[in-house]
């Protein structure tokens, strides 16, 4: 066992983990932060995306012990301090960017990473950035629309497909 200390959603946490404990397991089973979803467990689907030191990574393909000292943000850390939805989350709701919701935590985390890097992306840039996030329900269109809306761009002209 190795002792690991991280800052998760602003709170310091220390736990003993096995070498093989994945970050996704550490979050879901260790800290009971079950908003991070594990869809494929093979680094394909992006449902497990979280931010580590500000960068989006797939938590199913990183070891907790390797991230000792890191600062982690999960979907549970995305709402505003008063509990209301963040701009990106609200845009997903307003533009129907989710159906079953399984992919949504990863989509929101990827979207937040994109908008930090590129505050006014084009539709093509949004689609390219979501290459590692798979959604089986929405057909992506409303997810893209929600992210463009969250960036403050007018999406009135983007027709529902």
């Amino acid at each position: 066992m190795t002792q690991v200390t991280m800052t998760v959603n602003g709170k310091a946490v220390t736990r003993d983990v096995e070498g093989r404990t994945l970050l996704a397991e550490f979050l879901r089973e260790g800290l009971r932060l079950t908003g991070t979803h594990v869809g494929c467990d093979t680094s394909q689907c992006g449902a497990c995306v979280v931010h580590v030191n500000g960068n989006a990574i797939k938590s199913c393909t990183a070891l907790a012990a390797d991230l000792d000292g890191a600062s982690v943000t999960t979907i549970e850390g995305m709402a505003n301090p008063d509990g209301s939805l963040s701009v990106i989350q609200q845009a997903f709701q307003d533009h129907h960017g989710l159906q079953c919701g399984f992919c949504t935590p990863g989509m929101v985390m990827s979207a937040a990473a994109l908008l930090k890097e590129n505050p006014k992306p084009t539709e093509t840039e949004v689609r390219a950035y979501l290459e590692g996030n798979i959604c089986r329900c929405t057909g992506y269109h409303n997810i893209v629309k929600a992210i463009l809306a969250a960036s403050g761009q007018d999406v009135g002209a983007i027709a529902a497909e």
Binding site: R20, G46, A62, L63, D66, D68
Partner: protein, 262 residues
């Protein structure tokens, strides 16, 4: 995944010492190794993370003007920090997989793995890069020994990769849309002492230099120069994504596009 001991050295020397242990293996970004361990196709007794060794992370330019990339540098960092020095290499790194993969996957892991469809092997071979390890410098021409095979010895780690910067260069990747690796990728680079053409994704021997195209482009660096050539068909990969004839065709098309865009 089977259980293992985890080591997180802070220096190259500590990492080399840890890797000397019985059944120890290096961990880069884990984007290939962790899925392999989940499938129990790899089961190291000790995993030695190279991700906390500052001397192995970052991009710089040395006195010879070569772009030097630390062995544990993630693709996203190369995409950002090499952009001013070697834009084609930065662009290649910036189109590997997806953003989350690029934030973890490293150049050392990619070159050590030598996946026949990976992008960095084409850049290293196409640039005539030098792969620096904890014990020696290996020329890219001597490094790639076939699919998933390299000149690395057991416990040897890639500490840095040095790229001479070409006069003209372009990488063309025909993406395999499910895996996001290259179905075929061609890296064309023109140096003062000649043109290099490195092809990934196509051959069952892994990345290779297309010598015929190099000769033709040395005489005339234009797309038309390769029109009459045909890539070596018999050695191409044939799988559900494409036949060997299809891949051979793509090699020529992508080479032509790379020359035109260089």
């Amino acid at each position: 995944m089977y259980s293992f001991e985890f080591a997180k050295p802070k220096t190259i020397d500590e990492a080399v010492a840890a890797l000397a242990g019985e059944e120890a293996q290096a961990l880069g970004g884990g984007q290939t190794l962790l899925p392999t361990m989940k499938q129990r196709l790899a089961a190291p007794a000790t995993l030695v993370s190279l991700n906390s060794i500052p001397e192995m992370i970052g991009v710089c330019v040395n006195d010879a003007g070569h772009v030097c990339i630390g062995g544990a540098t993630p693709h996203a960092v190369v995409a950002r920090e090499a952009a001013a020095h070697y834009p084609a290499l930065a662009a290649l790194a910036g189109h590997i997989g997806d953003p989350a993969v690029r934030n973890r996957g490293t150049i050392g892991g990619s070159l050590a793995n030598n996946d026949p469809s990976a992008c960095y092997p084409a850049a290293a071979l196409g640039s005539g890069a030098v792969i620096k390890t904890n014990t020696r410098d290996i020329a890219a021409d001597d490094y790639f020994l076939g699919m998933f095979e390299t000149a690395l010895n057991e416990g040897e780690i890639i500490t840095e990769v040095r790229f001479p910067v070409p006069q003209k260069v372009n990488y063309q990747k025909f993406v395999q849309p499910a895996s996001r690796f290259a179905l075929v990728g061609v890296f064309v680079a023109k140096y003062a002492d000649g043109v290099r053409v490195a092809v990934t994704g196509a051959s069952s021997d892994g990345v290779f230099r297309w010598a015929e195209a190099e000769a033709a482009l040395n005489a005339d660096f234009s797309k038309a120069a390769i029109d009459a050539l045909s890539p070596p068909e018999g050695t191409m990969i044939s799988d559900l994504h494409g036949t060997d004839a299809y891949r051979a065709h793509l090699v020529k098309v992508m080479t032509g596009r790379a020359v035109a865009a260089a």
